[in-house]
Symmetry: C2
Amino acid sequence: MRKKRKGCDVPDATIHRLPLYLEKLKLLQAIGVEDVSSRQLAESLDIKASQLRHDFHYFGGFSRPGRPYQVAKLVPALEQIIGIAEPVPTVIVGAGHLGQALANYQNLDVQGFPVRGIFDVNPKLLGLEIRGQPIRDMDEMEALIRKENVKIAILTVPASHAQAVTDRLVAAGVVGIFNFAPTDLKVPDGVAVRNERLAVGIMALSFKVKCILQGEDADLA
Amino acid sequence: MRKKRKGCDVPDATIHRLPLYLEKLKLLQAIGVEDVSSRQLAESLDIKASQLRHDFHYFGGFSRPGRPYQVAKLVPALEQIIGIAEPVPTVIVGAGHLGQALANYQNLDVQGFPVRGIFDVNPKLLGLEIRGQPIRDMDEMEALIRKENVKIAILTVPASHAQAVTDRLVAAGVVGIFNFAPTDLKVPDGVAVRNERLAVGIMALSFKVKCILQGEDADLA
DNA sequence: TAGATTGTTAATCGATTAACAATC
DNA sequence: TAGATTGTTAATCGATTAACAATC
């Protein structure tokens, strides 16, 4: 019987709160706060303290009963859990407007995801430098991924090319794909995909706006 | 007693699936499919048919028992529900790399969100045209929002400016904000905010990648 | 000690899934 | 008719919240 790997059988909802916890804790650290209670931290994130403690409980033991959390311990613990204790080398595939914008996004580096390669098929873009990284030909992609041991790729190619590029990335050893192409990717087991659908986001917002505006009409009536 | 407005008391999870339904249906429409069953549509989206019917049930009556859905009826019905039956004029505030990338993103128009204004404080950017729209000075923002009756704004300014810009947008009549700044916005009741946190996305992915890699190590052991 | 805090389990709440009558 | 389908309610499942013993 295989022993269950600690801290990997965690609900998605919890996983998505971990970066928020980390971000807030880093902010506290920056202003010199040393201790923080679950109540304080939860309040600043507009969630319940019991939810925060329940989330932490998946990973066990960040403090002891009676004692608040120590910011200086919690920050590295969360970084370890999220997997960014060491910098995570990343590539961007597709150097169109969005790809270039992400390559320019300094926060990626700061958050622990240094960009080690930017690739595109368009020969006009080749050699153009973004924050010290030249845009490279797709031919060089697999070699660089292997050389730099890249496990995460940001995909900003047109939907029509997304699957083909994905297959190449997976074959080269990438196991996490941050997909901005508006299409569903087929990947084998052992590869994680996160779809970032901008159209879904703005449409969900539109739905709420429509309801708000209808509400105002109703108030006037 | 106020009558409950039909189709606005809907779980977020359902709201986020509406754009996916619409997208898939438009694809079917494009290849000439006229009818589709809940089973077929759900299967193509990798969800359960009962969930799809349950979602639709919030809005009531897209078909009748025994008869499959008619694509030509469902598409406009969903557009109406999402609030994009008519084009929804939009502004982009912040014309840095990300703002420019979004302004260039043709899909925004196609999906029903034509960009009617792009604004920035940087005088060097003023006048630069993106898909026919000049980057304008922030001074012109409120007037244009009122003139074009803009209700949705895409916010791509630095976190340090996000709240101040938000206050101005809300004062000018915007009720929906698509926020790319990594900061929480305070808005009054009757204003919807959707936060698009790229850092959260890539960290959630990182967590899963870490677990995948640990799994591989365990297999080797 | 008294008040506050965590870790942990139980209760509650909401979303997903199943079931099925009515209909074609 | 028989098989398939929707609309709708009930059952199940999972996530959030509350409760509280142990601890400081």
